[in-house]
Symmetry: C2
Subunit: 238 residues, 2 copies
DNA sequence: TGTCTTGTTGACTGCCTGGTCAACAAGCGG
DNA sequence: CCGCTTGTTGACCAGGCAGTCAACAAGACA
């Protein structure tokens, strides 16, 4: 009890955790410093003691979030697999990482509303994302050598594509649901979507690969995701 | 001068315009009613007179925004073209509509942070988006009949895909730029991206179409967009 | 034990902000 | 020209909120 008190590292972390929740749920302006303090069961002064200002706290939350998110994309470990599997895994990991960190999406949106002014200053970001593009380039090159991917694909475009397809579905779930009149939140719907976007990305990279001209759709079923790949989602309950 | 005063319709519209700007820039919580009033050169009471509350104003802004956005997607007029052109145009119109209405993106993000609670109530939304999915279904069916599109494509998936690819690039421009170390805002970069995502969507719909098995990449150049299609974007200036 | 540093708190403040009130002006129908 | 409806305003308020201050406790080190 008393020992838990006076543990600066733990206190700092506790603040970051609850601040993440609050900022993600309410946005920077909507978030209340007092409210975070209450959640932490700490006096508000602690937040200022550790982070100087509301904005300082926000930046700390952002950086911690990016680090966590990137660590879950596991792009380095993915390199071990053969190119096709590696790319599939990368899509899957990206989707899962975002699915498991909904706060990350909200925080990134917030940051984009601010035109990225917090992020731009932190050199950390570029260092964090460079290896990801490198991994994609690595995968693409090996795939081309193996004759399964076509040549001349820009890794940045691949990243942008898979990122868009993973992110938007989760980020804009609610407006999309209303617009389309379907449920996108069910596990089934998500599996279908993941399966679809994996197919899309793979199709883009494999289409017109030099070695074989066989219509690539034969290669799809079963290998897209580990799970049974339901191709055409029975229109979900509204 | 005096005649411009006492024009309720004009006043209402003026409020909506400036409120849109403010809400998009600052978010719901960050937006200041006083600030909107000042921009309108009206007393704050007018906003309450016409819209009852800050939230009422926000909802009005949202609905107006959706209407404007949808009207620019021009999906009905697109039906006249042949399936391939129609789909290409749909992607282009969607991208351009979002590009021309950056506030729309910010407002939708805001609405998603609120889990769509404002939008869900307005029946208008579904009515607004249903015809879009219908148009896609219409295009896909005609394309299948013509033998240029494969059968069994879910129009909702097509919409989700093109929507993701258009939206994310613009919505998350700033964090993506930092992550990738490239400029996404230049006209050149945007053209390249539009060209890329059009290719992606077309590839998905045409791949394995029954009539011809020819590797579809031969069909790509030139027809993707009206403009010179730069396939491999010279890596942009950082 | 005394003192210095580090972690922690209650109480406070001054400004900001959504929302209200009462009054006022501009037409308009009579 | 009177009075009613509709559009418009200045002044005001109560609560909320970021940030500060002075003081206090818990170890560390001597």
């Amino acid at each position: 009890m008393a020992s838990r008190s006076r543990d600066p590292a733990r206190t700092r972390e506790k603040i970051l955790t609850h601040a993440t929740t609050e900022f993600a749920k309410k946005g920077f302006d909507g978030a209340r410093v007092d409210s975070i303090a209450v959640r932490c069961r700490l006096s508000k002064n602690m937040l200022y003691y550790y982070f100087k200002s509301k904005e300082g706290l926000f930046v700390a939350v952002l950086e911690r979030m990016y680090e966590k998110l990137r660590s879950q994309q596991k792009d380095l470990t993915v390199r071990a697999s053969d190119p096709v599997t590696a790319l599939e895994q990368l899509v899957q990991h990206t989707f899962t990482a975002l699915l498991d960190n909904p706060e990350a999406i909200r925080l990134m949106n917030e940051e984009n509303r601010h035109k990225g002014r917090h992020i731009r200053q932190s050199r950390r970001m570029r260092d964090l994302y460079n290896p990801l593009v490198d991994t994609i380039r690595f995968i693409l090159e090996r795939g081309r050598d193996d004759g399964v991917f076509r040549a001349g694909i820009d890794p940045a475009f691949v990243y942008l594509s898979l990122s868009s397809l993973c992110y938007h579905y989760l980020s804009n779930q609610y407006t999309l649901e209303v617009a389309l009149g379907v449920d996108l939140g069910s596990e089934q719907a998500r599996e279908n979507w993941l399966s679809h976007i994996t197919e899309l990305v793979m199709m883009f990279c494999t289409s017109g690969a030099p070695a074989r001209d066989l219509p690539l759709l034969e290669a799809k079923p079963g290998r897209i995701t580990k799970r049974a790949s339901v191709k055409k989602p029975a229109r979900q309950s509204a």
